[in-house]
């Protein structure tokens, strides 16, 4: 039981954290609440589907193509739409909602609203401490760890990372250091959307693709980010694992109530926020 809970937490937590980091990064650097974040995740899934089914690409190739395509699309939608209105948080939220809706509708027009799927990279499963996990999940976990390490490297060891961190903390002062704030925002959006695409690519072979699949991870992802503190990457990772743990505990200890896992996770979020309004590791953005 305990092993089950731990493994389930690790796998779900790593997926949530990859989604949450991207979302959090964009908020931190550019103060953009990107509701369309998981819509890019959905788009990546459809790209892989189209790639493997219509163009007959190898799944790995299709994954790569999907991530690149989604990143480009993310950059374009930032340049064309979000950058012009990002100044007001409400406007950005609404614009990104609209974007997500547009993506969803285009996918419905193209692929219909049916459930689709793509093949897994490696079929089968392995047994870890008596718990069956699919190779795809092992894969997912390993990729997530690699990605998390590379994010850490990017942020802590490179000049770009320095600029991203500086901008996330104080946009005005970062500007005074010669950091081109809008350029950094663009790069961050690219990274973030790339992550969303990556998460989509790695997760969807185990589940179903449909145009509304962006909504439920969106809610969980936002809960994770708010819980960990907006803009804090450390917070996002910890928040993701807290949420993953909560869900796993509910599934294993309260099987009849496993549908409640979303609600319970959100309730935890609200309790934390009441005690600590800026989340666990949030940067205070009151000054702006």
């Amino acid at each position: 039981m305990v092993v089950d809970i731990i493994i389930s937490t690790l796998i779900n937590g790593s997926i949530y954290s990859i989604l949450a980091i991207g979302f959090s990064l964009v908020f931190g650097v550019a103060r953009i609440i990107n509701i369309a974040h998981t819509a890019f995740y959905m788009l990546a899934a459809f790209c892989i589907y189209a790639g493997t089914n219509s163009f007959g690409l190898h799944p790995v190739l299709a994954m790569g193509a999907a991530i690149i395509f989604v990143t480009i699309l993310g950059l374009a939608s930032y340049k064309l739409i979000i950058e012009k209105i990002r100044v007001h948080p409400a406007a950005t939220i609404i614009a990104t909602i609209a974007l997500a809706m547009i993506f969803q509708e285009i996918m419905i027009l193209n692929f219909g609203a049916e459930f689709l799927s793509v093949p897994v990279l490696v079929e089968g499963f392995t047994v870890v401490f008596g718990v069956k996990i699919t190779y795809q999940q092992v894969f997912t976990f390993i990729f997530m760890v690699i990605l998390l390490i590379s994010v850490w490297f990017l942020l802590m060891k490179t000049k770009l990372g320095l600029a991203i961190r500086a901008t996330a903390q104080d946009r005005e002062t970062a500007n005074l250091m010669g950091m081109n704030e809008s350029m950094i925002a663009l790069v961050t959006i690219g990274i973030s959307v790339g992550f969303a695409g990556f998460a989509g690519a790695i997760v969807i072979p185990l589940t179903v693709i449909h145009p509304h699949m962006w909504l439920s991870p969106l809610i969980i992802m936002m809960a994770v980010v708010v819980l960990g503190g907006l803009g804090s990457i450390k917070g996002s990772i910890i928040g993701a694992f807290i949420m993953g743990l909560t869900e796993a505990i509910i599934v294993f200890l309260l099987p009849m109530g496993s549908f409640l896992k979303g609600s319970v996770a959100l309730t935890i979020l609200i309790i934390v926020l009441i005690i600590k309004p800026e989340g666990l590791f949030g940067v205070s953005i009151e000054g702006e």
């Binding site: 100044v87 000049k159 320095l162 970062a174 500007n175 005074l176 250091m177 010669g178 081109n180 940067v283």
Partner: protein, 249 residues
Amino acid sequence: MQLEVINLRVVFNKAMILNDINLSLNKGELVGLVGPNGAGKSTALKAISGLIAWRKKVSKGIIGGDITIDGLIVFNGERIDEMPAHKIVSNGLVLCPERRKPFREMTVLDNLLAGAFLERKKVKIKENLDIVYQLFPKLKSRTRQISGTLSGGEQQMLGIGRALMSQPRLLCIDEPSIGLAPIVRAEVFEKIMEINKRGISILLVEQEISTVFKMTSRNYVISSGQIITEGTSEKLLNDNVIRKTYLGM
């Protein structure tokens, strides 16, 4: 003439913050910009360093104010009033902002490196770092400390040091003495003099007039968004009206 500001005007919504400001600064000079609270000193610095234009870009929106900025700012013979802030930095005009604003969650070293963002040569960065450490030995001992935990004086030194890392030709310093103990203040002012002696021009905004006037070659007195007068420290101190009305001495 290194810096020349001609008819600079800044309006927030409908409130005129700066009304036709004119000022200039020669290479190597240490010039003071003094005046009472809310006179528009900080706004002037922000306008010069491009932050107002940036803010203007950022703050219009569904429910947002309106900012108008008007006038001419020339730095080293180049117009910078329509330049984005990060370009102005690369031209050599660097602002050390009010209340220091360190990147609170980053280490001292990271803060300094952030200042050197535009410099690509590692050797040069190292050189600059040594200069800063030489100037502020305290920072060297705290390289790995998170800057949010530094004391006010150390943060101010970090702020100035970080600005120096950007290799300024003109350094604008906004109220360096604010919230500091008198001894620390004196140290900070001393360092500013030292920087000036290294050939970097300085535009200093301060309320601590008595100290500033001892350092500067010329001063501008600003009140209610207008430049009231300018001149050397002695000249201003000798003018009774100015002294009593605007300098409060």
